[in-house]
């Protein structure tokens, strides 16, 4: 079983379930780098992601600023958010700065979990793409884009010789019992994919009628799906073996599999890959706001964004022209085709309804 997933561990997987239960263990297992007064606790997703940050990113930061970093393995899903909020109620911060996915950012904003960030102390953040800056309703900044990644259409080149060009390939009758798709409405973003592919864009999801259209279209997909996965390693193994020859998966991890010689490909469909991202946010219980600002500012530098693309496999959160990434390096982590941007707002305002509809749809 493959354990060195990169962005693959970000949103899905049994890793989340296991890590959720064992988060306390994770905290204790964090490496005890210099426990100086200057130590900043930074939460990043456990596994390959944390390992890459520990190896390539945090030591450079400590060298540049003198602030030691203690990395904390955080579970995916909402488990970490729940822990941060519970701890903050007791005035504790298991991590000062955490990388948080977009739905989590918004939930934290609703619960006023994040310390408002001072842009005057974050000059480098001016380069971060505007849609990757999270704001409170009153305009205060709650989070700054840390990394982006893509979910694309992936396939096994032996089982499926022709390269698919559109997400519509998932609906092809030839793909009966051949697909692997993510099992949750809030991490698969398949409603958005359906809207973009068949209904002219994600605006179609504005209304309940539009959402029901997409559910109806998605239910046609059911007979093609062999594996609804929560665990990314399970799908990755099945994709490489050709057991499940097509599906949705992380572009960067698939790129690694290609580099390792596996017969797989990642395609940006003409409707666009699904983009998703994590933001840096500071718990309101943290007493290290000063150091946290220095850290976030450091991470926004073009050179660090390029380093992240090369070493961690994520897409930059700033305009690529500001970085020194070559075309090949950029293609490895991103695409110039306009992406499908998830409707994060829906996963807040209609979370329970969407979840219920979705579960009923796939259980059938």
């Amino acid at each position: 079983m493959k354990t060195n997933n990169m962005a693959g561990g970000l949103l899905v997987g049994r890793r989340a379930i296991l890590a959720g239960g064992a988060a306390a263990v994770g905290l204790m297992a964090a490496p005890s780098i210099l426990r100086a007064a200057e130590t900043l606790k930074v939460g990043v997703y456990g596994g390959y992601f944390k390992d890459s940050f520990d190896k390539h990113i945090f030591p450079e930061f400590t060298k540049a600023t003198g602030i030691a970093v203690e990395s904390v393995a955080e579970p995916t899903g909402d488990a970490w958010l729940v822990q941060l909020e519970q701890a903050a109620r007791a005035n504790q911060a298991p991590a000062d700065v955490s990388m948080i996915a977009q739905v989590g950012m918004l939930k934290g904003i609703n619960a006023k979990l994040w310390t408002a960030l001072d842009l005057a102390k974050l000059p480098n953040a001016a380069a971060v793409l505007p849609h990757l800056v999270n704001k409170y309703p009153d305009g205060r900044v709650a989070g700054i884009g840390a990394v982006s990644w893509y979910i694309t259409l992936v396939s096994n080149t032996k089982a499926i010789p022709e390269t698919p060009s559109s997400w519509a390939a998932l609906w092809d009758a030839k793909r009966k019992d051949q697909l692997g798709l993510m099992a949750l409405v809030s991490n698969s973003f398949l409603l958005e994919v359906t809207a973009a592919t068949f209904f002219g864009g994600t605006k179609h999801l504005d209304t309940e009628a539009g959402q029901l259209d997409c559910f109806k279209k998605l239910s046609e997909l059911r007979k093609n799906v062999k594996l609804w996965y929560r665990d990314e390693a399970q799908f990755e193994a099945a994709l490489k073996a050709g057991e499940v020859p097509m599906g949705q998966y992380y572009h960067d991890v698939t790129g690694l599999a290609v580099a390792d010689g596996h017969p797989v490909r990642s395609t940006f469909p003409k409707e666009g890959g699904i983009t998703d991202s994590g933001s840096w946010a500071v718990s309101r219980a943290s007493k290290k706001a000063e150091q946290a600002h220095i850290f976030i500012n450091y991470m926004c530098q073009p050179s660090i964004q390029a380093l992240l693309s090369r070493k961690v496999g994520t897409a930059p959160t700033i305009d690529r022209k500001k970085t020194d990434l070559t075309d090949a390096e950029f293609a490895g982590v991103s695409s110039d085709i306009a992406p499908i941007i998830p409707r994060y707002d829906l996963y807040l305002s209609k979370a329970d309804w969407l979840n219920q509809k979705w579960t009923e749809m796939i259980v059938g």
Binding site: M1, R14, A16, I17, L18, G20, P75, G77, D78, A79, L81, V82, E85, L106, K107, N110, A111, A183, L184, S186, N187, K226, L227, W228, R230, D231, Q234, A237, A238, A241, G242, E243, Y347, L348, S349, K350, A351, D352, N355, Q356, T359, E360, I362, V363, G364
Partner: protein, 284 residues
């Protein structure tokens, strides 16, 4: 050995510590879960202390009713299969030499040390078309082409029974090893075949142990949430899978707690019912 029934409060002293632990690590968390199940879910946020019935109301639907009945049926199937396999196995095991018995028990205990994740992945591979068992059948000329047997109901059953089997054997072992061998000898001298003796003497003599083991495996299988995900299709997901989804991915603790409380109550009810039926039968 005769013991006197406890008469004074001090006689209960020896069980004070286990009782305190049970209270601290079982009763208190369960009480907290019941409390959370009545809290108010804040959509797009967390939850607030309150006393509402809405979490239970959401659960009372045809959809969750179906998931609950599937979970119960699956658990019952696992219980029956495990006991049907483990009972004859354990019976034969207790007839073996002491050394061989110990070796088998050590082996079964080591199976228990495997994590559910490993078991799930191993069976997914064993049941796959590329590397799975069907390739052996093709090699032997029994099948035309290897097929994939996972995900599916069969795969889920195989996985959970594999996981439950060592427990079942370990629970049955003491009762079977204490079984008086002269019972079977008497049956044989009176002319019954070994098979007939097994079914008409050994099985009825251990009826209570069998019922207790069935209940234990049933409850064990009811809590499975990983194997149905790894080896099953969505229609094979148990209520425990949906509870995990709500707790970890939707941050909906009140609803997850309500479902868990409901699951506990229903399984306690079923266990109580089967004990009651057993008692009546014994009395009759």
């Amino acid at each position: 050995m005769m013991r006197q029934a406890p008469r004074r409060a001090a006689d209960y002293g020896p069980i004070a510590f286990p009782a305190a632990m049970l209270l601290l690590f079982f009763a208190v968390p369960f009480g907290l879960m019941i409390a959370v199940s009545f809290f108010q879910r804040v959509e797009g946020g967390f939850y607030e202390p309150a006393f509402v019935w809405s979490n239970y109301a959401r659960f009372l639907s045809v959809f969750f009713g179906r998931v609950l009945s599937f979970s119960m049926l699956l658990a019952a199937g696992v219980a029956v299969l495990s006991v049907a396999l483990a009972f004859p196995f354990t019976y034969l095991l207790t007839r073996l030499r002491r050394r061989t018995q110990v070796l088998w028990l050590v082996f079964l205990l080591s199976v228990l040390s495997l994590s559910e994740v490993i078991i799930g992945f191993a069976w997914a591979t064993l049941l796959s078309a590329n590397a799975g068992l069907t390739n052996l059948l093709v090699m032997l000329g029994l099948m035309d082409a290897p097929t994939s047997l996972s995900p599916g109901l069969g795969a889920v059953l195989v996985g959970i029974v594999y996981q439950a089997f060592p427990y079942t054997v370990l629970v049955l072992y003491p009762a079977l090893s204490r079984l008086d061998p002269t019972l079977m000898e008497a049956a044989r001298t009176l002319g019954s075949s070994p098979l007939k003796g097994f079914f008409t003497v050994v099985v009825p003599a251990l009826r209570n142990s069998i019922v207790a083991t069935l209940i234990m495996v049933f409850v064990f299988a009811l809590g499975c949430y990983l194997l149905p995900q790894l080896l099953g299709r969505p229609q094979h997901w148990t209520l425990s899978v949906l509870i995990t989804d709500q707790a970890l991915f939707q941050a909906n603790m009140p609803f997850a707690a309500a479902m868990a409380v409901f699951l506990v109550l229903v399984s306690l009810g079923l266990v109580g019912l089967s004990l009651l039926v057993g008692k009546k039968e014994n009395a009759a």
